[in-house]
Subunit: 61 residues, 6 copies
């Protein structure tokens, strides 16, 4: 622990995930005072048919 | 906020998700008294090998 | 299944949850064509120190 | 209820999930004293680009 | 990894959680072939007003 | 979106959450190229009886 889950609509590159994992882990380790290797980061890409805001799917926007 | 996550075994159509997003957002906005555009709905389709009830995968039922 | 998780900042009453459970279950059962007793709804109340938007905790808004 | 979610990096077989569903359901039913058919188990396979430990994606290890 | 989340309506004892953590970790480690110290188990107790089945809160059953 | 969930064993201060929300939002907004006000961060504090590693509750370590 800590465990960080990041949900985004699909379309981010592996390079963006790589950088997010690095930056977020640094911030969490530093602020919560734990070694970086105890920080876990998970990504969850959502399809455009799988996220809605205001009652409308992103697919339809 | 509010944030609504809906998990289902795969097989629902985009049209069903579209309607779910609409109906669920209306209900949540009305009952919790927030504008609809602050309601977020997420869908998560599970494969039949990824959900079990009573110790048996849906795949095997 | 289906399983519906609803996350909100704390402050909703039991009566609001009761009505949400009813309305959301009806919508999900009707649209996905499953009996209502197979629909599960979960609520998660977040404290104002536990949700941030735009980098600012709700507590500080 | 209870509801058990199991997240793993992809690569487990259906046979492993089948056995996990069975063993975990037995343990949960027995220890929490509920009938097995009220225990629900969900699997979530993560791609190697979707999990990082120590700031590094599994993909890059 | 693996990561196991167990959601239950409140009322389980610490001793039951202790035993669940042990039994579930053993099953997951053995079946997925990972060392036990890489298995993480999380519990989430739900209040009776926070879980509904068939459109009715457990509180009202 | 994006949505970031951070799970930690209890004991972090509001000030640490405030700083985490700020730093993580900055990183996510910058790397994924979205305005900060579309980034949502959630914290989930786990009790020491609610997290186990290697089959042992943190409470017992």
């Amino acid at each position: 622990m800590p465990f960080v889950h990041i949900e985004m609509v699909e379309g981010r590159t592996v390079e963006q995930k790589r950088e997010l994992a690095k930056r977020v882990t640094e911030a969490v380790a530093e602020i919560t005072n734990v070694p970086a290797d105890r920080v876990h980061v998970f990504f969850n890409d959502m399809k455009k048919e799988d996220y809605a805001n205001g009652g409308t799917l992103v697919l339809d926007k």
